[in-house]
């Protein structure tokens, strides 16, 4: 697929994304769209660490929660603007990520994945028992003002959609810039063959920290938006492992390591969630989980590069053998 076609497709996608909420007037459906966009943004953020650099994290909710809590606390305690809170939340999440990442990046593959679960769960337990930040009860955000400056919209949820879209575009831009720069090459080298990467001068921990810093910042920004939209956060809703899993899922399904894969994954995931909810009511009675599970297994076994990877390889007839098992670190 040459560049011209790709660009055209992207523009069409963007245009339809901008128009969608105008064409869809049902507020429930609009909410679905907002959720889809927000999921996509989180997926793109996750992908920078998990897809590009190959460091699979099942604990990203920690960054999401740190973002949400930072901006919310700043708003409640100091009346700070949520936009400032978004940046502060991002910074806080980045600091936390680097602090935690530095020792943990020594761990390979599944040890690291489990460690991310451990860190996020510990954080959730801490916040659940920390009365100063609301504990298990959570935080309710004040709705004194409305409008763009206050990042609260009551009469119509549409502005949330466009802000989410803006965040998604920003995240995609960051993702694209990484991909097209030396960082993209370095991340992929680290992902493919860490030892060989070292032999050509790449400091593994250093660059993994860069990846997690960017990834956590963007994820935290998403957390702030969530907090401003729902106007209520608690550890169970913004720090749970189930949320971390959903964030990872978006990229795993859509295409680990591809730019737009997470967007596709988010569309599919949110779609399935809505569909199963409508058909089976309530939480979908597990049917969404069954579908996710099946999809992940199929994708992991047959298309480890996600659906996008699968499509790409079909189109370009790329077919190369995997290196010997001993080669992967």
């Amino acid at each position: 697929m040459n560049r011209g076609v790709k660009l055209a497709l992207l523009l069409v996608l963007f245009a339809s994304a901008c128009l969608a909420p105008i064409l869809v007037t049902n507020p429930a459906r609009q909410n679905f769209l907002i959720l889809a966009i927000m999921s996509a943004q989180l997926g793109v953020a996750w992908n920078i660490l998990g897809g590009y650099a190959g460091q699979v994290s099942f604990g990203h909710a920690a960054f999401f929660g740190v973002g949400a809590y930072t901006s919310s606390l700043m708003l409640i305690r100091f009346g700070a603007s949520p936009w400032l809170g978004m940046v502060a939340g991002g910074a806080a999440a980045t600091a936390f990520a680097v602090l935690v990442g530095w020792p943990c990046f020594r761990l390979r593959g599944h040890y690291f994945a489990i460690a991310t679960i451990a860190v996020a769960e510990i954080l959730q337990v801490v916040f659940t028992n920390w009365r100063a930040v609301g504990g298990a009860v959570g935080l309710t955000l004040p709705i004194e003002q409305e409008g763009l400056k206050a990042l609260v919209f009551n009469t119509s949820k549409l502005p949330y959609y466009y802000i989410a879209l803006g965040l998604l575009v920003a995240s995609l831009l960051a993702s694209w810039l990484i991909k097209e720069s030396f960082l993209g090459h370095y991340f992929r080298a680290i992902k493919d063959e860490p030892e060989a990467a070292r032999s050509v001068g790449i400091s593994l921990t250093g660059y993994k920290l860069v990846a997690i810093a960017i990834s956590s910042f963007l994820t935290a920004a998403g957390g702030t938006l969530y907090a401003q939209k729902e106007l209520f956060i608690d550890p169970a809703s913004v720090m749970a492992t189930s949320l971390s899993v959903k964030i990872a899922l978006v990229s795993i399904l859509g295409g680990v390591g591809s730019l737009l894969g997470p967007v596709l994954g988010a569309a599919i995931l949110t779609g399935i969630e809505e569909a199963t909810r409508q058909i089976f009511g309530g939480t979908g009675r597990g049917t969404d989980l069954i579908l996710y599970g099946l999809m992940i297994i199929v994708v992991a076994v047959y298309y480890p590069d996600g659906i996008v990877g699968g499509i790409l390889s079909l189109r370009e007839r790329r077919f190369f053998r995997r290196p010997s098992p001993g080669a992967n670190a």
Binding site: G54, V56, F58, P103, C104, R106, L107, R108, G109, H110, Y111, A113, I114, A115, I117, A118, V119, E121, I122, V125, V126, T128, N129, T241, V245, I252, V256, T283, R285, G286, T287, D288, L289, I290, L291, Y292, G293, L294, M295, I296, I297, V299, A300, V301, P304, R322, P325, N328
Partner: protein, 288 residues
């Protein structure tokens, strides 16, 4: 007074720790034989709990008696899972393996939720209901029975691995797959066996737990994290390590929870995981 309470918590920790050990043993066996971390291990435990529960609820069969049936069912399931899914990702990248067992975890949870709804179930009256008093100390009989069952199962597994030819073949495959194959030990069969035994261990643990622990689709999640900590502490791949580590983790959890507060139990245990993998990655008895 405090000494007795401490002793009570210590022994309670050991009791649950033995069950953790059994769960972890299955997990570490699979890892030792084929280098795959089974993220769906908690779900085998969950299914063992449900099997036990339904046989009790529908046919009034006591969990202690249906234990062998549960074990067999989970063995078959583990072997089936290997043959249908895992077999295809033996040589795949670690990422693909992680995602696959992860997907399996979600799939099994979804199936459980769909079939049996998210409600909490429990077995209220079984052969081992009641409490046991030892002076000022008091223990639940189900917990004691579960611990005893776990020890039995682990000893059985140890006997199998160390004293039977099949067990030796399994250990050989774990130590050096190619060498074992060159000696005529079929790797595929060993992998299927490992998955069967691993799942059975989790299933037995589930059956034992069902006498006092609530049964619900997400219950696997409670145990998988602890299992990871135990496996890491014991050393990935070491069965005896998992056994020792299970007891340690159980004690840390219960005693720690008593000293710091029960809501922070999980954080404590997870902190232990981080400490172990960062400070001593090979755990207590693992291979480097």
């Amino acid at each position: 007074m405090t000494f007795e309470i401490l002793l009570q918590t210590l022994l309670s920790g050991i009791l649950i720790g033995l069950v953790y050990a059994l769960v972890a043993v299955g997990l570490t066996l699979i890892f030792g034989v084929m280098d795959i971390v089974n993220f769906a291990h908690g779900e085998f435990l969950m299914l063992g709990m449900y099997a036990s529960f339904w046989m009790f609820a529908l046919y009034a069969l006591d969990p202690i008696f249906t234990l062998p049936i549960t074990a067999l069912m989970l063995f078959a399931l583990g072997a089936a899972v290997y043959q249908s899914v895992i077999r295809r990702i033996i040589s795949a990248s670690m990422l693909a393996q992680v995602f696959t067992t992860f997907g399996l975890m979600i799939l099994l949870r979804g199936i459980a939720q769909f079939l049996w709804k998210p409600d909490f179930r429990s077995i209220d009256r079984s052969l081992v209901s009641g409490t046991v008093r030892l002076g000022a100390l008091q223990f639940g009989l189900p917990q004691i029975a579960a611990a005893a069952g776990a020890v039995l199962a682990t000893l059985l597994l140890g006997w199998f691995l160390n004293r039977t030819r099949l067990g030796a073949a399994l250990e050989a495959t774990a130590a050096d797959r190619e060498a074992a194959q060159l000696m005529g030990i079929p790797a595929q069969r060993m992998f299927t066996l490992a998955w069967g035994i691993g799942a059975a261990c989790a299933g037995i643990a589930g059956a034992l737990l069902s006498t006092f622990y609530p049964v619900f689709p997400e219950v696997g999640g409670n145990f998988i994290l602890v299992a990871f900590v135990v496996v890491a502490l014991g050393g990935f791949g070491s069965v005896s390590g998992a056994f020792l580590a299970g007891i340690v983790v159980g004690v840390v959890e219960v005693v720690g929870g008593f000293l710091i507060g029960p809501q922070l139990k999980l954080a404590l245990v997870l902190l232990l995981y981080l400490l172990v993998v960062l400070v001593r990655p090979q755990g207590l008895l693992g291979r480097a």
